[in-house]
């Protein structure tokens, strides 16, 4: 079973000018996740959530500490869903999915088609991204991330730029795909309700890049944002953020 481990991961961005202080984005973060889990990092903006995701994907490197991924010894394949779709406008939807694949064209096309069908865009494979709406483009981004058959799926506030109704539809779709494909997901959001609805574990981050709380969520899937239990848990976690704000003065502005 796949195991993702963060050991004392710290990231310090050097000061840009003489008068600035270096910025500590992540401070000695350690946790583990294993198997078919959906872990969400939630916290106010500027608490190092996205930086942690970038370090996990290898786009950025930690100042100290390390991230390791164990999966039968092989290097993990990573799928990434960004805040915005980040598609190549000059390639068709299908070709955008093929762009990130390292498999032969026939296999890759078949997988791409499967995941496009899954997000409901099977018949739009030959259109250009510019011909689709924003929500559809974001669904292409999700299909692209799943189509590389990732051992680990990283999602950085993927629904934050969408309208509420589209976002809710995609969250429900994501739960189904996650359950069907049994991928390990590390999800970043500042939306507590979204975190509770989607994940089976929520890690609360505090400003300064430390873990404030690590909460298991044991509710059955599929969940809806309107479920009573989801709403109750959401209120509980928001209560914990109030505690955080009382404990850490800098969190008030964050």
């Amino acid at each position: 079973m796949a195991l993702l481990r963060f050991e004392n991961v710290t990231k310090v961005f050097p000061a840009l000018t003489k008068n600035d202080k270096p910025i500590r984005a992540i401070d000695a973060v350690s946790f583990e996740m294993e198997g078919h889990v959906f872990v969400t990092l939630v916290g106010p903006s500027g608490c190092g959530k996205s930086t942690l995701l970038n370090i996990t994907s290898g786009v950025d490197s930690p100042t100290s500490g390390q991230v390791s991924f164990a999966q039968n010894g092989a290097a993990p394949r990573i799928g990434y869903v960004f805040q915005d779709p980040r598609l190549l406008p000059w390639r068709s939807v299908l070709d955008n999915l093929l762009y990130v694949s390292d498999e032969d064209k026939a296999t890759a096309s078949q997988k791409a088609q499967t995941y496009l069908d899954m997000v409901g865009l099977g018949s739009f494979a030959n259109l250009y991204p510019g011909q689709l709406s924003g929500g559809m483009q974001q669904r292409v981004g999700i299909a692209r991330a799943f189509s590389v058959d990732p051992d680990l799926l990283l999602m950085d506030e993927p629904f934050s730029h969408l309208d509420a109704i589209t976002a809710e539809g995609l969250r429900e779709q994501l739960q189904d795909i996650w359950n069907e494909t049994r991928k390990m997901v590390l999800f970043v959001t500042h939306d507590v309700r979204e975190a509770v609805e989607l994940s089976n574990r929520v890690i609360m981050m505090a400003p300064g890049g430390r873990i404030f709380a690590d909460i298991e969520i044991d509710l059955p899937y599929p969940r809806r944002a309107s479920d009573r239990a989801v709403a109750v848990l959401q209120a509980e976690i928001l209560g914990r953020f109030d505690e955080m704000r009382a404990e850490i003065p800098s969190a008030k502005t964050g």
Binding site: D102, F124, L127, S133
Partner: protein
């Protein structure tokens, strides 16, 4: 909808003969035609005022004789194809080398700060050097023959391609690079499917400049350092004091450049940017009908 034609309709008189004529001239196609006609009229006027300037009629008569191989009087006969083909070969060879080397340089300068620091000023020097300097230098280096015009074309055109492509590479949003890095897309694939398509527009702008400036270069170089070719033939008429011949060849250059642009460059550009047209054509109605599915 075409802006000029809409304007034309508003200003047009009721649909009588004058109104229709006005409409013709204010349409996109008509406006272009009017420019050519105005140019010919001004040319004719200048020819009437300036005694040694040949007008359009003798010049086009000359072009016809030169192309058809008729007699220019005496033993002189028209020679078009042999010179034109020789120059075209030199020009295309120099241009292809300029586009390939310019694009490679541009990608290096655009993506790596080291190359930017190393070559930015050098490139500026090359841009500042006029074609005529290269024409002289290459003639001194290689003597009379095909090499001087080819190298002149290469050296005058390549910097323009490089500058434009470098700008295009720098304009690629870092988000797409980060996306590629996150998915571990190899560099060769990124070059082919991310960088090259992203700089296509800039590359075409560069090629347009390269064609004009390279054509300049090849003609100048042939003027000084060749025994045949379009530049040599133009000088032949200049030296023979036959101005209609000289102007005739200048007109041939212009027609060639315009045809090259309209018949070759524009269609290729349209093909390369078909994704943009598809985007423009997909109307809001298709978008909303798709979204509801």
């Amino acid at each position: 909808m075409n802006k000029s034609s809409a304007l034309g309709r508003n200003l047009a008189l009721p649909p009588n003969g004058v109104g229709r004529l006005q409409k013709l001239f204010s349409s996109n196609w008509g406006a272009r035609l009017s420019a050519y006609i105005a140019f010919l009229i001004i040319w004719q006027l200048v020819a009437l005022i300036v005694p040694r300037a040949p007008g359009p009629v003798p010049v086009f008569t000359f072009i016809w004789i030169e192309i058809s191989g008729g007699s220019h009087g005496g033993v002189l006969r028209g020679q078009f194809l042999q010179h034109f083909i020789v120059t075209l070969q030199r020009f295309s060879l120099g241009l292809v080398m300029a586009v390939v080397s310019g694009a490679l340089l541009g990608i290096l300068i655009g993506s790596l700060p080291f190359f930017r620091a190393l070559l930015n000023d050098t490139l500026l020097v090359f841009l500042a050097l006029p074609a005529i300097i290269w024409a002289f230098l290459t003639t001194m280096w290689f003597g009379i023959g095909p090499r001087a015009p080819i190298v002149t074309t290469l050296l005058t055109a390549a910097p323009f391609v490089a500058v434009n492509v470098a700008q295009g590479v720098r304009a690629i949003t870092p988000d797409l690079h980060r996306m590629s890095a996150a998915f571990g897309v190899p560099l060769s694939k990124r070059l082919r499917h991310l960088i090259l398509p992203a700089v296509t527009g800039y590359l075409f702008a560069g090629i347009r400049f390269a064609i004009i400036i390279g054509w300049n270069g090849v003609l100048l170089s042939e003027w000084f350092g060749a025994a045949e070719g379009v530049g040599w033939r133009t000088r032949f008429w200049y030296d023979a004091n036959r101005y209609r011949g000289f102007v005739g060849w200048v007109v041939i250059f212009i027609i060639f450049i315009v045809l090259l642009d309209r018949l070759a460059l524009t269609p290729i550009q349209q093909y390369a940017f078909r994704w943009r047209d598809a985007q423009a054509q997909s109307s809001e109605t298709t978008k909303s009908s798709m979204a509801s599915s």
